[in-house]
């Protein structure tokens, strides 16, 4: 790819099916909230719940 061509890093998100977009958005929001918190547990449970809620 030419250096001048613009790369759109959000393309994989934009092209995703709706439920995958929802999962991605919610997970990133969750990670953002927790990013600067120390001693946080239960990431897997939270993310598992997000996936369970979106895929039923």
């Amino acid at each position: 790819m030419s250096k001048k061509e613009k790369i759109d890093p959000l393309a994989p998100f934009k092209e995703a099916p709706e439920e995958i977009q929802c999962i991605m958005k919610r997970i990133l929001a969750f990670e953002k909230e927790r990013l600067f918190q120390t001693r946080v547990r239960g990431y897997e449970t939270e993310i598992t719940n997000i996936v369970k809620e979106e895929i039923q």
């Binding site: 998100f13 990670e31 993310i47």
Partner: protein, 690 residues
């Protein structure tokens, strides 16, 4: 982040409480603090870093000694003396005041003081309501404003800044991580990692409930994934080992160069090694061209026979008189329809005249063939032209590759001879060093082979995993639970893959933009024809492209300082642009409003560089705070920055020595003392606004 003021008490050289150092903002966004060496410039820079992050720069000597010595000496044993730094700033619509304090106890024995536990920080926040509230988790909140590992890009010692562009592998990883944080990509990476764990959990649940075949597939996959992870970690270890080995090789080569009797041999070896690298780069370039040539014109080899067939066929038709056809089909059709020939004969169906004209229709049909033959004849000439130059180009590239390999063989043979000569050198130390060098080279070859082998195995495992994933995907479980688990596992994998691609794209885009911006800034700062390039691992190399092919340039200390400033300026600019272009899903740190605090940014630079940097500095960040000596400031820097200065302070150093002449700083015709004699026997520094 916008700085409001900094206030100190008993912090290092600063005895008692200083006045508030308010920082310039808006159009005149530069704050200048004038001081002589040793008067507290580095201490002031570290006051920011210490209070926010409980950290300091490498040039900050005796970091445990925070409390001012005069304050301790004036106390009586058992007294507690406190030092603190208070910083007010705002960020994202909120105001903050952070205060870090350190207590020391005055004791009778040497050194006369002892710190009381570790430093303690308090943070107050006000979010527009006018009510200030204490923040319990200070580090978390400060981390949201500016992550700790990014502070050295915003608060830095100009005399050591060039280290940014000569990063070790570990530091390159840190730059990569810092870039990720600035763009808000760290949370994408974390999300990706957590999603993978959750996907594995769903697959494990499926394993427990699924049928035997599915269970076997999932078990196989788990095994392969573990193997892949082990290989990746092995490769990482091998790469670190190679890096250590290379450092060791460089040390040995330098030592060899230090022996006068073999200096010329060692220099010759370094020359050949460089030449060998150039030839290897040439081979890579020629091979790339060869591939492109084959993919572009390779087909022409196969159409040679078809062209001959086509020509023979057309020639045969010409011999038979079928070409050129000489008559149009439409013309014959019209005659038959009008039932009249051009000679006037009636054309009645079944009569001989009608039959004869009808036969012309058959021949007239070949007019289309003739038209095609003509146009194809033209196209074929182009193909033939391509076919004509293709073998020559191919042969020329192959010859170049052969010649380059032949050169490399010669170089290697000469390198072997040199190595052999040095191994047998009468001086034992030289022979010993050479043997160590050979051992390092052997080790590197083995490691490179091992890495290649492990990477090949990883690729093979990846393919197997894809196959297993496909097989798992095909499995249609009748049970609702299994189906749900399958869909959830697939969703995790899909989201994971998309996040991975996004990270790769972000990284690529960031590097391209960063390099372009850095080249732009660097060219504004320097008169040389050099261009900085950023490698995939965020190493920075300077290239000289004036004579055609870009070659590496050994950057001077001054150029490295400029490169580092350009790098910091580019990071701020690129993050600002990328944030403006799209509000990322993740939402990163808003670097556009960050201040830059620099101690001696003009340290080792000559007049031209100082002038250029002074012009650019006010534009690289929202606020610029610079700590300078008189010699760094006067002249071109002062002239270039004059219009942008919002606030100026002087740090006056009081010395107990009576043999030191007073030193004055002249600003706008007024004189201010940089050094004064202390009247109380203590040394200390006083801050005053100009």
């Amino acid at each position: 982040m916008k700085l409001h003021y900094l206030k100190l008490k008993n912090f290092r050289q600063f005895y008692g409480a200083t006045p508030k150092i308010a920082f310039a903002k808006g159009k005149k966004n530069i704050t200048v603090l004038h001081a002589n060496n040793g008067s507290g410039k580095t201490a002031l820079l570290n006051a920011f870093i210490w209070t926010m992050f409980d950290s300091y720069t490498p040039g900050f000597q005796l970091p445990e000694q925070i409390v001012n010595k005069r304050a301790i000496r004036e106390a009586t044993p058992g007294d507690i003396v406190e030092a603190w730094v208070e910083l007010k700033f705002s960020h994202d619509g909120s105001n903050y005041v952070i205060k870090r304090a350190q207590e020391a106890v005055c004791i009778e024995d040497e050194p006369g003081w002892q710190n009381r536990s570790t430093s303690n920080a308090t943070l107050q926040k006000e979010s527009g309501s006018g009510n200030w509230r204490p923040i319990e988790r200070v580090d978390d909140e400060i981390g949201r404003v500016l992550p700790k590992d990014l502070h050295n890009y915003f608060f830095f010692d100009g005399e050591r800044i060039e280290r940014i562009v000569r990063p070790s592998k570990k530091q390159q990883e840190e730059i990569k991580a810092a870039a990720k944080k600035l763009l808000g990509l760290e949370i994408v990476a974390r999300g990706k990692s957590h999603l993978d764990k959750v996907r594995k959990k769903f697959e494990k649940d499926l394993q427990d409930t699924g049928d035997e075949e599915l269970t076997a597939l999932l078990k196989d996959k788990e095994k392969l994934e573990n193997e892949k992870q082990q290989l990746a970690s092995d490769v990482e270890e091998n790469e670190v080992e190679i890096e250590h080995n290379q450092t060791r090789k460089k040390e040995i080569a330098d030592k060899l160069l230090g022996h006068r009797e073999i200096k010329s041999i060692q220099e010759r070896r370094q020359f050949i090694e460089k030449e060998k690298d150039i030839k290897n780069a040439d081979i890579a370039e020629y091979s790339k061209n060869l591939k492109q040539e084959i993919s572009k014109h390779g087909y022409s080899v196969f159409i040679n026979k078809l062209i001959t067939n086509f020509r023979e066929q057309v020639d045969r038709m010409r011999e038979k008189g079928e070409l050129p056809s000489g008559i149009k089909k439409q013309f014959v059709e019209d005659l038959l329809e009008k039932h009249k020939c051009i000679c006037g004969t009636e054309l009645i169906v079944g009569h001989p005249a009608h039959e004869k004209v009808k036969q012309w229709r058959q021949q007239a049909g070949l007019a289309d063939v003739e038209e095609k033959a003509l146009s194809m004849g033209g196209e074929l000439k182009n193909y033939e032209a391509a076919l004509g130059s293709f073998p020559t180009t191919l042969e020329s590239l192959k010859t170049k590759i052969r010649n380059a390999y032949a050169n490399i063989t010669e170089f290697e043979s000469e390198l072997d001879d040199i190595s052999d000569k040095l191994r047998k050198f009468p001086k034992e130390e030289i022979a010993g060093l050479e043997k160590q060098l050979s051992a390092c080279e052997e080790k590197e070859k083995t490691l490179l082979f091992t890495i290649a082998d492990k990477k090949a195995r990883t690729e093979s495992i990846k393919k197997k995993i894809i196959e297993i994933d496909k097989a798992i995907g095909k499995k249609q479980s009748e049970e609702e639970k299994q189906d749900l688990l399958l869909r959830r596992g697939r969703a995790c994998r899909d989201a994971y893959n998309r996040l991975s691609t996004m990270l790769t794209l972000w990284d690529k885009r960031f590097r391209i933009d960063l390099e372009q911006k850095m080249q732009d800034l660097f060219s504004q700062m320097t008169l040389t024809p050099y261009l900085p390039q950023i490698t995939e691992s965020y190493g920075i190399v300077l290239k000289e492209a004036a004579g055609g092919k870009p070659l590496d340039v050994a950057a001077s200390q001054g150029e490295n300082q400029i490169l580092s400033l350009a790098f910091i300026g580019s990071i701020i600019e690129v993050v600002r642009n990328q944030k403006q272009q799209h509000d990322t899903l993740a939402g990163g740190v808003d670097a556009s409003s960050y201040p830059v605090v620099m101690d001696s940014p003009f340290g080792a630079l000559d007049h031209n560089y100082r002038r250029q940097i002074a012009k650019i500095l006010p534009n690289i960040a929202g606020q610029v705070v610079t700590l300078v000596t008189k010699t760094q400031w006067h002249g071109e820097v002062e002239n270039a920055m004059m219009d942008k200065i919002g606030r100026e302070y002087i740090l006056t150093y009081y010395t107990p020595r009576d043999d030191v002449a007073e030193d004055l700083l002249e600003i706008n015709g007024a004189k201010y003392p940089l050094i004064r004699q202390s009247t109380n026997g203590y040394e200390y520094t006083v801050i005053e606004e100009l």
